[in-house]
């Protein structure tokens, strides 16, 4: 595909062409634009490469207008990439997929550096891959894991007691129970822990240290989904305790936002935040 500012191309690559993704390129002749890292959008959960409410497509195209190339890719078992053999662990599968991603981007763009962007399990994978691949110079982590700091529990109790939504929800459920109306399905608030392979604090710290040692940068955004383990701006920096955190990391806390950015007003805010952050690669 092509228009005034970008070109898009489907890629079947990796062993036997098993991996699938869409490469988005800015419409500048090679060598004309600045050498910028390539964004790799990693799939979240079972969603395919376009991302929740088409978030990855929009980001790929708006970043292309700024001069960034990107690949939105289906990791094994999602979208149009078949699963790996059951004998491979999930992490082995992601590492093998990423090797394919690096190889195809090398062949197309000549040894670029990378920014890994992912929501939820996509963020977990970005953290795991950043430790291993020395050319990862940036991470956009959306609802990644974090760990409680000393004041976490006290803030959690205060926030729960002062949250009107909690009382409204309780009243709604009481009303449903008393009126005999079908009770809405309760979602296990800890359910996500059963299927995500969460990085440990040491791994998280190692990934951030890797990025710092490469002169890279990290953007972390936490939404209301993460209140079980994150409830204050700056908490990630405090628990990581990485040298120079504020110089290379930006941390945002948007508790009023839903995990998949289901409202346009929130998607617009996220896209603007990521574009502003990405602009830092152009200036440096």
């Amino acid at each position: 595909m092509s228009d005034h500012v970008l070109k898009e191309e489907p890629l079947q690559f990796g062993e036997g062409g098993r991996l699938f993704g869409i490469l988005t390129l800015p419409n500048t002749a090679p060598g004309q634009g600045p050498e910028l890292p390539v964004f790799v959008f990693l799939t979240a959960g079972f969603l395919h490469r376009v991302g929740p409410l088409r978030l990855h497509v929009r980001l790929a195209r708006e970043l292309a207008e700024m001069g960034f190339s990107s690949l939105r890719v289906d990791l094994a078992g999602t979208g149009d990439t078949p699963p790996r053999p059951a004998s491979m662990s999930y992490q082995q599968s992601v590492v093998a997929d990423f090797k394919g991603i690096v190889d195809v981007l090398d062949s197309r763009l000549g040894r670029p550096s990378f920014v890994l962007a992912g929501l939820c399990s996509g963020a977990d994978n970005a953290i795991m891959l950043a430790m291993r691949e020395p050319r990862v110079v940036g991470m956009v982590l959306l609802d990644s894991i974090c760990f409680p700091d000393p004041g976490f529990r006290a803030r959690e109790i205060f926030q729960k007691c002062s949250n009107p939504a909690r009382y409204l929800s309780w009243l709604k459920h009481r009303f449903e129970a008393l009126s005999g109306a079908p009770v809405a399905e309760r979602i296990d608030p800890e359910g996500w822990r059963h299927w995500r392979e969460l990085p440990t604090l040491e791994e998280l710290r190692a990934a951030f240290n890797s990025i710092r040692s490469r002169g890279g940068r990290v953007l972390s955004v936490f939404t209301g989904q993460t209140l079980q383990y994150y409830n204050r701006t700056g908490q990630l920096g405090q628990v990581l305790n990485v040298d120079g955190y504020r110089e290379f990391c930006a941390e945002r806390f948007w508790p009023e936002v839903e995990h998949t950015y289901s409202l346009e007003v929130h998607r617009r805010r996220l896209v603007a935040e990521i574009k502003t952050w990405a602009g830092g690669f152009i200036r440096t």
Binding site: M1, S2, D3, E8, P10, Q12, E15, G16, G17, R18, F20, I22, A44, G45, F46, L47, H48, R49, V50, P52, L53, R54, V57, R58, T78, G79, D80, T81, P82, P85, A86, S87, M88, S89, Q92, P164, A165, L168, P255, E256, E258, T260, S262, L263, E264, V265
Partner: protein, 313 residues
């Protein structure tokens, strides 16, 4: 130690494993294979052989991905050729819209592969302004989407050489497929999976989903709430697009000759508006009225019924 852990450890130690006939061969740096590891290798030999055979027989997905259509508004598509060649029938899958599209992506990919396995040509595509196709919903119109179906049928016919064309329309795409088929003599059969009653009802359903979303978002400013109240299940639809969807009424279903139409429903709660049409019921909790795009719809029994309908001569 599991087989996967053992394989990972051997890889770290630089031990290379390979299959030779029915046996397992290895090459290891001096001292890498301890007695314990050798014992583990012997214990897991069968599983390791199976794993290595799996790895060496990586399945290449049997499809070709490409963009086609107008120069400045490309449509993304995937063409699945019959696995064993030949094939006289082309199935064009008209995907559902919005969150239904996200939730059925895996099911439709698997369906396309299963049909190709059974000797059919299959073309999947994303409407303009959706999925990987160009543009955004702000530019999309129902007229574009009808044109996309016509483009997809033409593209599929050119690639497959097939004259026997069948359309599969899912949810709101059932209405689009009916209108498209009414204007075309190229399509011989139309299969509908959980067709929505009409465009107005579909938009109302999306508004109910949006109402649920707004209930969850208590901390919006007045301006944000006003803006969000105009969305449909999280998607912003332009006025022309809303108007176009509203214009898709239930009469479209009765415009198709009954002999060419077949409906597959997963719930008895929604009645198909035309009597006398050939129908199947395969109960499945698809729960279409949700804002959760990651709640995948993977109805194995529905897929089997669809395969039967689409392969029937």
């Amino acid at each position: 130690m599991t087989t996967a852990e053992l394989l990972a450890q051997l890889q770290q130690l630089g031990v290379e494993l390979r299959v030779e006939g029915e046996g397992l061969r290895f090459r290891a740096p001096a001292g890498a294979l301890t007695e314990t590891l050798r014992a583990e290798l012997a214990r897991c030999k069968g599983e390791i052989l199976e794993a290595l055979r799996d790895r060496t027989s990586v399945k290449r997905p049997g499809y070709e991905a490409f963009f086609f259509g107008p120069d400045d508004q490309k449509i993304f598509a995937q063409y699945h050729a019959p696995v064993r060649g030949g094939g006289r029938t082309l199935v064009v899958i008209c995907p559902p819209l919005f969150s239904d599209f996200m939730r059925t992506h895996l099911a439709l990919r698997d369906l396309a592969m299963a049909l190709a396995e059974r000797g059919l040509h299959v073309l999947r595509f994303d409407y303009r302004g959706t999925g990987d196709s160009s543009g955004g919903l702000e530019q999309a119109t129902v007229a574009n989407w009808l044109e996309d179906i016509a483009f997809a049928v033409r593209e599929g016919r050119e690639r497959s050489g097939s004259a026997d064309v069948r359309l599969l329309g899912i949810r709101a795409s059932a209405l689009l497929a009916c209108r498209s088929m009414g204007a075309s003599s190229e399509v011989g059969r139309l299969i509908l999976w959980d067709p929505v009653p009409d465009g107005v009802d579909y938009l109302q359903e999306m508004r109910r989903v949006q109402g649920g979303l707004l209930e969850q978002h208590l901390h919006l400013t007045r301006a944000e709430r006003r803006e969000a109240a105009r969305e449909y299940a999280g998607y912003r639809l332009s006025e022309p697009l809303q108007e176009g969807i509203r214009s898709l009424d239930a009469n479209l279903y009765s415009s198709i000759p009954m002999s060419k139409l077949h409906v597959l429903s997963t719930s008895s709660a929604v009645k198909f508006p035309v009597r006398g049409v050939s129908q199947d019921m395969e109960r499945c909790d698809c729960n279409w009225e949700t804002d959760s795009e990651d709640r995948m719809v993977l109805p194995r029994l529905v897929s089997e019924r669809l395969i039967t309908c689409l392969t029937m001569s």
